[in-house]
């Protein structure tokens, strides 16, 4: 039920992000979702792409440090309190969200959020037990 995210180490330098997107464009990799966490000196770029293997190969060839991380993609009701409901569930179960970001979709009644949990397996149990929709990696990459 997990999805895989690609994480890249980047220094905070002008034009660096464009170089990364350039590598992916040249490799024919489509970026599905993206989040950047940074400090004054460096950042970690997190990506959901349509083809992990292709992206990883291209980025490594481009000299970047890349790692894969398991994340969970959850369909969130597109109404007030939709996200809050999920976070409350997790809080009650004692599960921490390390970070989260939104996944862009063209249409649909739901929003999709990408979560990184400290205990991903427990999180999955809690979410599915509540009837929430978790989107598998395979589907997510081409949504």
């Amino acid at each position: 039920m997990h999805a895989q995210q690609i994480s890249i180490f980047l220094e905070n330098k002008a034009g660096r992000l464009a170089e990364v997107t350039g590598i992916l464009a040249a490799a024919g990799v489509n970026i599905r979702a993206l989040a950047l966490a940074d400090t004054s000196d460096f950042g970690v770029l997190r990506l959901i792409v349509d083809d992990n293997q292709k992206a990883e190969n291209a980025l490594k060839q481009g000299g970047l440090t890349v790692s894969k991380t398991d994340v969970v993609a959850v369909a969130v009701d597109d109404r007030p309190g939709g996200l809050h409901h999920i976070l409350e569930l997790l809080q009650n179960a004692g599960i921490n969200v390390e970070y989260m970001y939104a996944f862009v979709q063209h249409s649909g009644a739901n929003a999709v959020m990408i979560f990184r949990f400290d205990q991903p397996d427990d999180a999955l149990k809690v979410l599915t037990a509540d009837g929430l929709k978790v989107i598998e990696g395979r589907r997510l990459y081409t949504m």
């Binding site: 220094e11 966490a37 970690v44 890349v66 790692s67 990184r116």
Partner: protein
Amino acid sequence: MIYDVEYETMPREALEAIQLRRLKTTLERVCATVPFYRERMATAGIKPRDIQRLDDIRHIPFTTKQDLRDNYPFGMFAVPMDTVVRIHASSGTTGQPTVVGYTARDVNTWATLMARALVAGGATANDIIHNAYGYGLFTGGLGVHYGAEKLGASVIPVSGGNTRRQILIMRDFKPTVITATPSYVLHLAEVAEEMGVSFKDLSFKFGIFGAEPWSEKMRQEIERKLNITAVDIYGLSEVIGPGVAIECHEAKKGLHIFEDHFLPEIIDPASGEVLPPGETGELVFTSLTKEAFPVIRYRTRDITSLNPEPCVCGRTHVRMNRVSGRSDDMLIIRGVNVFPSQIESILMETSEVAPHYQLVVDREENLDTLTVRVEVGEGLFSDEVRQLQALERQISKNIKETLGVSAKVKLVEPHTIQRSEGKAVRVIDNRKI
């Protein structure tokens, strides 16, 4: 003024006779008491009695810092521990500094040499000496301190740091001589300015600066800012500490080596051949009077040349020129010796694979700063920013604890550290010295 007129102005012939006599005695002693020297000499097939002239010393093998490390901690001591009264140490590879010892007579010799140095630098028994060299295992603070007391001056053992308090002490105690690293004294001048205290209004007349490389330009800046005469002092703990050589304030042109206690040579660092007077090479010392920790042909790795010309001050001891560089990759940062290999072993503790790294040294507001750039390969990378920041802090803390130097750790992308001929450039020294 000259502290020890008899020895410091001794005619060369008499001085060299004393050197030869003391050299022979030293060699006999180390062969009798230090297994390392006994074995080295035996392997080289040379006996102390083979030394008939001073330049016969060239047949004796060199001693290196690695030899001292191999005999850590007390293996090079030539006396039993019950006659050692003092131990100092300089920073070394993780957990393995270079350890030196002194007998009561060594401490007295050292104090006398430092008294000579202070006088050469302009101090007298009537001066108040503000000693801002660090006190502790480092030889700077205590070395100057004992010399000042020997001279009969009043010494303020202020040590390094707590800069604002130092300024208040300077204003109120009115010291007339300052001893510090050159970069620290410039930092003091800046902080004083911020506090509205003008160094020119203080009572300083002379300054004696060393323990790190500095330049003629820095001398001029210090002399102008402090309105003093500034001289260069040289020493290293392996030889004795500060007080191996000193510039006289009369000439300010090269540092007189106290040759009745230390025999200098200049060698080609690659071949080990002794170079003729005036040529530039690596400075090598043999101690002539030390009891606890004699050194025989110790390679300092400092690059300089010797000037045998007579000096206007009347001292007959040879002068060494300013140290212009190192024959190894050692850096001196705020008076602390740092080898890139030490940083490497610290990085090895945090990662299974040694990451590529680079030391960048700058001088900001006259204080040396060290930045350690570390390439983030897969072994170090974490998807979480918090963990990467914790890694930076951990490396920085380990460097501080092991080497005693504050360093900023900066994580960089792979392949961003320059390679020359495939080899990473380990050190970038931006200090304009």
